[in-house]
């Protein structure tokens, strides 16, 4: 009895957090999403995702998020493998280098990218010194993809790193003893065992990539539009709270349908492997 009470006391901050910062805001958004400005019930706001302009932005955002997530994965695995080879103290060193930048506000880091990529920026300055032609990637989708990938890379790398570092050295050594090469150890042992980390990385990178309106605005020069920019416009410029909420809810519903499918499957695979 007492231990139960103790449990309640300990979970109180968590309950307060979930109610205050998850459930109540979600309820407010849902209420806006399914009503019109006069308070009448309507599905128009949620279905607005299907119209031509919003739908186009949604598809473009899906593509951008897919590319960014893929780039994050492709960058994360070689880096994680490199850290795994090194001894512990230097891996802590590298992690600090990865995490340290995250302590600086992300808008500042994106503004730094703007300085690097702009037509007369740092990158072109170096290219000129090396006698190479300038590249013009400021204010394009490429710049947005670079910015988003950079921004969310740590969220992909850290869970993968955690999963990979939990794999005992004995297991990989056993694989080698049984004749697996470096590639074989990776594809048949490390990669399958790191899947839970990969999937939690994807959930943390994919959705935010679709809605990084600040990155699209700064690095895309206002010429690129993610679905996040549209939602931002509905709230901040048009004062269309209902439509903005409706679009957010339909985005959330889409993610709730698609993501658990992938994440859930990874859980099962993990289970069967343990047996």
């Amino acid at each position: 009895m007492t231990s139960e009470k103790k449990g309640w006391g300990l979970s109180f901050p968590f309950i307060l957090w979930s109610v205050g910062f998850t459930l109540i805001p979600l309820a407010v958004i849902t209420r806006y999403a399914f009503t019109d400005p006069d308070g009448g019930l309507t599905l128009d706001n949620v279905l607005a995702m299907g119209n031509r302009i919003n739908g186009q932005a949604f598809l473009v955002s899906l593509l951008v998020a897919f590319i960014c997530t893929l780039l994050c994965v492709l960058l994360a695995y070689p880096m994680v493998m490199a850290i795994r080879r090194l001894n512990l103290s230097s891996s802590a060193f590298i992690l600090i280098f990865l995490i340290l930048p995250m302590w600086m506000n992300f808008i500042l880091r994106i503004l730094a990218w703007q300085m690097i990529l702009s037509d007369n920026g740092i990158l072109n300055h170096f290219l000129t010194i090396l006698g190479l032609p300038k590249v013009f990637i400021a204010n394009t989708w490429l710049a947005v993809i670079i910015g988003v990938t950079y921004d969310y890379f740590p969220y992909m790398m850290l869970p993968i790193y955690t999963a990979v570092s939990a794999i005992e050295k004995d297991i990989t050594e056993a694989a080698r003893d049984l004749g697996a090469g470096t590639l074989g150890v990776f594809t048949r042992v490390i990669f399958p065992l790191s899947l839970p980390g990969l999937f939690s990385g994807i959930t943390m990178v994919f959705v935010p990539s679709m809605t990084s309106f600040a990155v699209a605005d700064i690095l895309g020069g206002g010429k690129t539009q993610l679905i996040g920019n549209i939602i931002e416009q509905e709230f901040m410029r048009s004062s269309e709270m209902n439509l903005g909420s409706g679009l957010s809810i339909s985005l959330m519903i889409f993610m709730l349908i698609t993501l658990p499918v992938t994440v859930g499957r990874s859980g099962k695979e993990e289970g069967s492997r343990d047996i």
């Binding site: 204010n139 206002g222 010429k223 048009s238």
Partner: protein, 357 residues
């Protein structure tokens, strides 16, 4: 750098002024109304903070000062009623909305001492949103025009056409704002910027979509910086920004195109929540005073409607078209009045279409 030095000197001067005012404040202060206070809502960086202290020293009226970034922001916060604001400073179309909604009360201009400092023509242009000029006191104003780099653009610019004739493709910065971007296209086509005619607005949309490939970026605050840094040849900017840009790069020129543009005017109003009209009147009157208006002008460097301040400026500043716009702007420029809901919604959809193209 020059700007920083000037600000420091400004601040030092204001401090001296404040001290002298406090010195002779003994007499004025004897009748000071203690315990009175006003809640003032303004844009950020839009009033010299020294002047607030000075006002309190002179009158004993405490100021609770709050800031917002955009008129829409201000409106939402005001309407939520969480804080009772006595005085608001906001822009033309938002004032029109507040007046229509009965949120503001008449200002007793008759009991002002320094009202003559404000040029009559500013009250005249305010008639677009305050027809009998009863509710609003002009504070700062300006135009929207083209800031261009004369080292790149050799011929003199006098028309919006330079933005649409593809001769500076990739070198143009437009405003990342629905109102200001459509204004440019509408004025170029010879229409009113306050039009609600769907055909005219659609024509502007076609023009802007065709222009988009030539646009380097749609920016707000950075528009000026990109031209200053030489990343773009021209940008659509507010006149106040143009003046500051000139401080950094002497090759920059600002022009209000001959087809006309937008005259914007930010003004003060007293809300219906104000409990102490006399204190509000004192504050507004204080802002009209030459020394105070000058301090605020030197803090912001937007065009001031305070003629006393304008006539005290050095020749060099008086001749700066961004700082003291020529009289011609009153002839072909329009003040923005608020669109109806339906037109706003149409603009919002068109803007999304433009951005997604």
């Amino acid at each position: 750098m020059r700007y920083v030095i000037r600000r420091t000197i400004c601040a030092a001067m204001a401090l001296v002024l404040a001290m002298t005012a406090a010195g002779c404040g003994g007499k004025a202060g004897s009748g000071s109304q203690t315990g009175k206070s006003l809640t003032v809502f303004n844009y950020s960086e839009y009033l010299d903070p020294e002047m607030i202290e000075k006002f309190t020293e002179e009158t004993g009226i405490k100021i609770r000062y709050e800031e917002a970034l955009t008129p829409e922001d201000m409106y939402t916060k005001y309407k939520s009623g969480a804080v009772n604001y006595d005085l608001l400073c906001t822009c033309d179309y938002m004032l029109g909305r507040l007046i229509r909604e009965g949120e503001v009360v008449e200002i007793p201009f008759d009991s002002f001492e320094n009202l003559d400092n404000i040029g009559k023509r500013y009250f005249d242009i305010s008639k677009a949103f305050d027809p009998d000029h009863r509710y609003t006191l002009p504070y700062f104003w300006g135009t929207i025009g083209i800031l261009y780099d004369t080292s790149v653009v050799k011929e003199p610019v006098d028309s919006w056409s330079v933005l649409f004739d593809h001769s500076y493709a990739g070198d143009i910065i437009m405003q990342n704002s629905i109102r200001d971007t459509y204004m440019v296209a509408l004025k170029y086509l010879g229409y009113s910027l306050n039009t609600t005619d769907e055909n005219e607005i659609n024509e502007a949309q076609k023009l802007l979509i065709a222009q988009k490939p030539d646009v380097q970026a749609y920016l707000v605050d950075e528009a000026r910086d990109e031209v200053v840094a030489g990343n773009a040849a021209m940008a659509v900017v507010y006149s106040g920004e143009a003046y500051l840009g000139h401080e950094y790069n002497e090759n920059l020129e600002y022009v209000v195109p001959k087809e006309g543009s937008n005259i914007w005017i930010d003004s003060w109003c007293v809300t219906k929540n104000c409990k102490d009209m006399d204190a509000a009147r004192q504050f507004l009157d204080f802002l009209c005073r030459e020394d105070v208006a000058k301090a605020n002008f030197e803090f912001i460097y937007y065009s001031t409607p305070n003629d006393a301040v304008v006539s005290s400026l050095p020749e060099e500043m008086k001749n700066d078209k961004a700082l003291v716009p020529p009289d011609s702007v009153f002839e072909n420029c329009e003040v923005c009045t608020r669109y109806d809901e339906e037109t706003s919604r149409m603009y919002n959809e068109l803007w999304k279409e433009l951005k997604s193209g």
